[in-house]
């Protein structure tokens, strides 16, 4: 049952989105007018899709500052921002926080349904941490000859998340038997991005001791 949250101070934005999506079997919808209330709810239950009206503003919390919080807390549910046509700058800024799409007011039922389908598809994809776990397992059991696909998948994580330490760590695990020097280089890169990354530290110590 997809759980959908809508945050807006505008009654018509909330009621339009809800009336369109409640007609889809199984959807559970919740609306919020206060950002604090939404944050509290998210701490207990994360949605499959969240609509955030960029016009929302309460004290220090604005639509954009909420997106910033989601990114810092590593929340990875799909977020769609709701905006007016003349807020292009705000939309551009929102995309820096990995929102999956935006919708301008007034919106049509078809636009909302299209975004919903896209979000549900994303929701069903493994999260970053799940992907890391899966690739780590595959590296443990990889055969010596055919692992081109595995290498490609690790590399694609680099391109998507260049500032995160995990892809470097995975590549180091992948390369440690083939080319320990490249593995060491990647473990150092991983630790440069996160000096407290314990697994990378142990792997680096192990490789350097075996040198």
């Amino acid at each position: 049952m997809p759980l959908i949250y809508v945050l807006s101070e505008e009654r018509n934005v909330i009621r339009n989105i809800i009336s369109i999506l409640e007609k889809v079997d199984g959807n559970v919808l919740r609306s919020f007018t206060e950002p604090d209330e939404l944050l509290n709810e998210i701490r207990t239950k994360k949605p499959d899709l969240l609509f955030v009206d960029l016009k929302v503003s309460k004290g220090e919390l604005t639509g954009i500052s909420l997106l910033d919080k989601f990114k810092r807390y590593n929340y990875n549910f799909p977020v769609v921002v709701v905006t007016t046509l003349n807020s292009i700058e705000a939309v551009k800024k929102a995309f820096q926080y990995d929102v999956i799409d935006y919708i301008s007011i007034p919106f049509t039922p078809d636009e909302i349904l299209e975004i919903f389908q896209k979000a549900i598809k994303i929701s069903n994809e493994p999260t970053f941490n799940e992907k890391i776990k899966e690739l780590k397992k595959r590296i443990e059991f990889m055969n010596k000859e055919d692992n081109k696909d595995l290498e490609d998948q690790i590399k694609s994580l680099f391109y998507k998340n260049p500032s995160l330490p995990q892809p470097h760590y995975l590549y180091a695990l992948f390369m440690k038997n083939k080319n320990p020097n490249i593995a060491i280089k990647n473990l150092k890169a991983s630790l440069a991005l996160d000096p407290n990354f314990k697994e990378a530290k142990y792997a680096l110590d192990e490789l350097e001791n075996n040198k």
């Binding site: 009654r11 339009n16 369109i20 079997d25 046509l85 007034p106 039922p109 349904l113 069903n124």
Partner: protein, 146 residues
């Protein structure tokens, strides 16, 4: 997660003019669960909308193409042209038809003499004068038969 096509589909409507008739139509469409946008140049006219109206309102000159674009006219399932002026209504209806390729347009015509102009461009109309006169004519004939 399974995604099923909605059992009851919502449509998208645009209403030009938020006077007595425009607001009744907009309220009705909204009450039926459709998405509605009402355009009027007079912000005060939106007070005609009911408290339960959940559509969107746009203030502006109804015949401006930019305004129509903002209202996403091209995505409308139907457009109601209900301003109090026949000339404005024909202009809006033609612009919507020609530039935004919307085929479901219904316009109000005040003066029955203008009906032919709308018919020439194949725009569906509703003429309150004709509706009232036809009803009254029926009433007269009924009286004559008695």
């Amino acid at each position: 997660m399974d995604f099923k096509i909605p059992f009851k589909k919502s449509f998208y409507y645009v209403v030009f003019g938020c006077g007595r008739l425009g607001s009744i139509i907009a309220n009705e469409l909204s009450a039926k669960g459709h998405s509605v946008v009402v355009i009027d140049r007079d912000e005060a006219s939106f007070e005609n909308l009911s408290f339960d109206f959940t559509g969107f309102t746009l203030i502006g000159e109804a015949n401006e193409i930019e305004q129509m674009r903002e209202a996403k006219i091209d995505k409308a399932h139907a457009v109601f042209v209900l301003t109090p002026d026949d000339n404005t209504n024909i202009m809006i209806a033609l612009t919507v038809k020609k530039y935004f390729n919307v085929n479901n347009i219904i316009a109000r015509v005040y003066n029955p003499k203008n009906i032919k102009t709308f018919a020439k461009y194949k725009i569906e109309i509703v003429c309150p004068t004709m509706l009232a006169s036809n009803r009254l004519k029926k009433f007269i004939s009924k009286g004559e038969k008695q």
